[in-house]
Amino acid sequence: MILDLGINFAGIKLKNPVLTASGTFGYGYEVGDLISLKKLGGIITKTITLENRLGNVQPRIAEVSSGLLNSIGLQNIGIKAFVEGPLFKLNKIGVPIIVSIAGNTTEEYIKIVKILTMQIGISAIELNLSCPNLKKKIICHDVFLMQDIIRNVKKISKVPIIAKLSPLVTDIAELALFAQEAGSDGVTLANTYPAMAINVKTFKPKLSSVRGGLSGACIKPMSLRCVYDAYQNINIPIIGCGGITNGGDAVEFMLSGATAISVGSASLISPKNLIKIIDEIKDIMYRKNIVSIKEIIGFVNTKNAC
């Protein structure tokens, strides 16, 4: 039985649906000594901003039940340094590269995309829309701004635009539709969940920023629901993301409606988990007699749902 893991995501051909999640895989080339990066479906870089950012002070990380709290603060070298350095290394890998970007205003997004548009070897741009706007509100919570960013970026980009949405909204299906209406070629569902933890010995928050983003196995059932609901409302493809730890998790997201999936916390624990997930997807395809992984996209959603 020859298995076809290939998918087409908004015109980008991926040899398998497994991507790295933004912010959990560095610029994308750093662990090339530990795993064969060319086996990946694609690489989504950490989020790049217009200027470099130093990120937050310590502590930035806390472990919680089945998950991870973080507040890194978008530490990165800035778009110019990125295209002059890491991008070259990424292009040698031979898999589609998706650059994640963020800004506080539409203008910042536009400036970054203009710089990226002059580069070669970028397959798509993922818009991180969970960073704060000028009023300290996250962009996904300011639908007008979110749509403005997508529309303007879309006008100048030569590659597909993927909007990464925050799951903490009253109606994720509606938000995904807003992204689609503004011209987004795909959506990533979903980012981390606002959360916090307190050290009960010291009575101090475990993160310097108090609030951070929750990721890991603990969020999977919620993000799966986001994908399930959004899939019913949009016709652009979805990258499913949230606590995917094994091939079964990846398949759950695809059955719910994701065309591709991205792996975050699990690849922090071991980059090898990315390869393991690809292998386990194959195991499930064998077991369920699925020739092409495309067959299962939305399978539970459209056919078997009660």
């Binding site: 662990v31 472990e63 922090l268």
Partner: protein, 252 residues
């Protein structure tokens, strides 16, 4: 310095025994890795039933066996202490170790607090010259590895917070009085101790290295959880450290 190379694989547990109340020594057979381990480097170890790996410094390397020593403090170390065979998934060796060449003409002074002693034990065994160990712990029962230092001819000065052995109080107070210009420091321990040693070093213009610790998820620079300010730049403890020059660490 030998070529660096890191591994992420399953290695056989040779033993995992309580060496004194609350402290365990874990020995893992890792033929292909041993030759790449440098003092100050660490491994990320997969522990059952906790979400993240646990970073653990190399205590020593003998033939094809890597030894780690840890104190049971939380769920992760408790779970680890229950392992008595099989394999463990290890990622490493990670980070940059101590630079053994940089100040080789100076007098070696190792300063350790608590379980910081573990990696310094490996360091002492690799330093060409014997020196003095300043070692502070909470209480007599927390003293580990002392014999290993003595065996290789190091002078050991101990302090305990409760006065049950050696000087009563903090080791930094003892150190402060004895430190000399031609000493080189190698420091590992709790952050408050390292901060204090750094101030002493700065005041007396003494050179050396400190090994830092911050919460980390990956150990390879990807999570960016363990960022610290070093010489005006943001550096990762896991990748750029854990060992940094004492004068470069910026204390907030």
């Amino acid at each position: 310095m030998c070529v660096s190379k890191r591994f992420d694989g399953n290695y056989m547990v040779i033993s995992n025994k309580e060496i004194c109340p609350g402290y365990f020594e874990l020995e893992v057979k890792a033929c292909d890795i041993v030759k790449y381990c440098l003092p100050g480097q660490f491994f990320m170890i997969v522990v059952p039933n906790v979400f993240l790996r646990r970073p653990m410094s190399v205590h020593n390397v003998k033939k094809d066996i890597i030894s780690f020593i840890y104190k049971v403090v939380g769920k992760g170390t408790k779970e680890l202490s229950n392992i008595h065979g099989g394999v463990l998934q290890l990622l490493g060796p990670l980070g940059k170790g101590y630079n053994l060449e940089c100040y080789k003409d100076l007098n070696n002074v190792i300063v350790s607090g608590g379980t910081g002693i573990v990696s310094l034990c490996f360091l002492a065994s690799k330093l060409k010259k014997k020196g003095i160990l300043y070692y502070g712990v909470r209480s007599k029962n927390d003293l580990i590895c002392v014999d290993e230092f003595k065996k290789i001819g190091w002078k050991v000065i101990v302090s305990t917070e409760d006065g049950t052995e050696g000087y009563k109080g903090y080791i930094t107070d003892v150190l402060e009085k004895k430190l000399k210009m031609d000493d080189v420091l190698f420091v590992c321990g709790p952050v408050d101790m390292i901060r204090k040693v750094s101030y002493i070093a700065k005041e007396k213009s003494i050179r050396g290295f400190v090994s830092l610790e911050e919460k980390m998820a990956c150990g390879v620079g990807n999570c960016q959880g363990c960022a610290v300010k070093i010489g005006g730049l943001i550096r990762m403890v896991c990748k750029d450290g854990p060992v940094f020059k004492v004068e470069q660490v910026e204390w907030q």
